[in-house]
C-alpha cells in the first residue's frame, strides 16, 4: 500500500459513485483509500459528496465528506480543523476543485463575472489551500500538495480566458511555493491532464465530432480515463516521489508534445 498511514484532503471530490463514471476527485478518493490513506472529500455538491463518502466507508474505507467552497477562506479553516480532529494529521492535499466558464473564446464582451469567479475558485482556491495546509504539514514533518492544473496551464487553445489564466497561474504558484516550502519537507507539484473522459466531459466527448477533433490531435488516439490521472496523483502523493517538487506532470497521451 503506497499511501499507508497518510491523511489526505481531496477537493472537488463529490462525483465518485460506485459503478458510475467518476470525476478525478471522486476517483482519487477511492484509489487513495485502496492504497491505505484516510481521506477527506470536499465539494459544494453535498448530495453526491455525502453519498460518495458513505459508499467508500461501506466498502471498508475511512472517509469523511465536508461541504467546502474552495474560494472561501473560512471554509478552508473549518475543513482542515475537521480533518485534524477526525484523523489527527494532514499529509496530502489535492487541490482538484475547479472549472471554467464564460465562453471558450475571448470577445469584446467576455464575461468579467465568469472570469473573476473561476480565478477565485481555481487560482485563489489553490492559494488558500496551500496556505491552510502549511501548519499541519509542518507538524507532520512534511507533506505533498498536488495542484490540478491542465494542459491549458501549459499551452493555449479554445478554453475560457478564466481557465487559461487560472490554470497557468497554478503552474507557477506551484513552482514558487515548492521552493519556499521545501525547507519544511513540503513538496508542491502540478498535474496537467489532457482530454480525459470524466463525468463532466462525458456528454461533450461522447459527441462524435467533438471527440474526433480532439482525438485527431492526441498521439495515443484516445481519451484518458479517470484512473490514468489518479495514478499520477498517487505517485506524487506517495513517498516514491520524495525528490519530486516544483515539477509539472503532464498526463495527456502526447498531446502537448506536438
Amino acid at each position: 500500500m503506497r499511501l499507508a498511514g497518510k491523511v489526505a484532503i481531496i477537493t472537488g471530490a463529490a462525483v465518485g459513485l460506485k459503478g458510475e463514471l467518476m470525476n478525478f476527485g471522486g476517483g482519487a478518493a477511492w484509489r487513495f483509500v485502496e492504497q491505505g490513506a484516510q481521506v477527506v472529500l470536499t465539494d459544494i455538491d453535498d448530495e453526491r459528496g455525502e453519498l460518495t463518502a458513505a459508499q467508500i466507508c461501506e466498502a471498508g474505507g475511512d472517509a469523511l465528506y465536508l461541504h467546502h467552497d474552495v474560494s472561501d477562506e473560512n471554509d478552508w479553516a473549518r475543513v482542515v480543523d475537521a480533518a485534524l480532529a477526525r484523523f489527527g494529521r494532514l499529509d496530502v492535499l489535492v487541490n482538484n476543485a475547479g472549472g471554467g466558464g464564460g465562453g471558450s473564446e475571448i470577445t469584446s464582451d467576455s464575461s468579467i463575472q465568469a472570469f473573476k469567479h473561476w480565478m477565485d475558485v481555481n487560482c485563489t482556491g489553490t492559494f488558500l489551500g496551500i496556505r491552510a495546509a502549511i501548519d499541519s504539514m509542518k507538524e507532520a514533518g512534511g507533506g505533498s500538495i498536488i495542484n490540478v492544473s491542465s494542459i491549458y496551464g501549459m499551452v493555449g487553445g479554445p478554453a475560457p480566458p478564466s481557465y487559461l489564466a487560472s490554470k497557468g497561474a497554478i503552474r507557477n504558484l506551484t513552482k514558487g511555493t515548492a521552493v519556499q516550502l521545501a525547507p519544511y519537507g513540503i513538496r508542491v507539484n502540478s498535474i496537467h491532464p489532457g482530454f480525459a473522459f470524466t463525468a463532466r466531459t462525458r456528454e461533450n466527448f461522447s459527441k462524435k465530432e467533438e471527440a474526433a477533433v480532439r482525438l485527431a490531435r492526441v498521439p495515443m488516439g484516445r481519451f484518458a480515463t479517470v484512473d490514468e490521472v489518479v495514478y499520477g496523483m498517487i505517485y506524487l502523493a506517495s513517498d516514491e516521489s520524495s525528490w519530486v517538487t516544483g515539477t509539472e506532470l503532464v498526463i495527456d497521451g502526447g498531446l502537448t508534445a506536438a
Binding site: 514558487g176 521552493v179 525547507p183 509539472e248 506532470l249
Partner: protein, 271 residues
Amino acid sequence: MDRFKGKVLLLTGSAAAVRGEQLGFGGETAWRFLEEGGQGVMLTDVQDEKGERAASQMRADGYDARYMRLDVTDEHQWQAVVDRTVSEFGRLDGLVNIAGAIDRGTISETSSDHWQRVIDVSLRQVFLGTRTAIAPMRQAGGGSIVNIASMVGRSSSLYAAGYSTSRAGMVQFAKAAAIQLGKYNIRVNAILPGWTRTPFTESIYQDDAQRRIRDVRVPLGRWAEPKEIAAAILFLLSDDASYVSGADLLVDGGTTAGMADLGLTTDHLNV
C-alpha cells in the same frame, strides 16, 4: 507489488548494478523491476566486468538477468542486443536510455571530437535505441521508453554546453517519438534528474566546495538518492503511467523550479 509481471526491460549504461557497490540509476531500476515481478532484465554498458558481475548477482538471487556490451553509439550492437533480448526473454516491453558522457570545460576548451562524442552518446543512443525497439514493442502490443536526460536539458549549466545541449535533445526526441509511436501504444518520455549521488557524480560529491555550491541550490536541501530517480523511471515504465507520453518529468528536488538560493536564509541551507 507486482507491477512488472511478465515484462522484460532493457537498460543502457546500467553496469553500476552490483549490490554492495555504488549503484547508478540503471542498477536501482533493474533490481526494483525484478523485485516487482519483472520477468527479465538485459543490462548493457561499456563496463563489461562490472556489468557481468551485476547480472550474475541477480541470477544468484533467482532472477533472470543478462549482461551484454552495448556502446550506445553503435548501430550494429543495438541490433544484436535487442535481438538477443527477444531471443532470451521472448519479448521487449521497456527500454531505459541511461548512458551518459559529459564535457567539463568552457566552450573554447572543448575539442570538436569531444563535443561530438557527448552529443553522440546522448542522441545516437535515443535515436538508435528507439528505432531498434519499435518492432519488438509493437509485437508486445506496446511499450514504454524512458530517456534519462537531465535538469540541465531544461536550464543549462556552467562548463557543460555539450552535455546540456545533448540532454535537451533527448527530451525533444522523446516528444517527437511519442507523437509517432502513440498509435502503437508505445509511450516515450524523458526524466530530468537533478544532482544525485552515483558513480557519475561521485568525484564532484567528494569535493566539498563543488558539493556545497550545488547543495544550496536544491530547495529540498540535499542530493537525491538514485532510488528516488529509479522510482520515477518505474512509474513511467508501469501501467500507472498508461496515458503519460511525450512528457518531461523533472525529478530535481525543486532545483529548477526557482531560485532557492536567492534571499533564503532558512537554516537548512547551512546544515
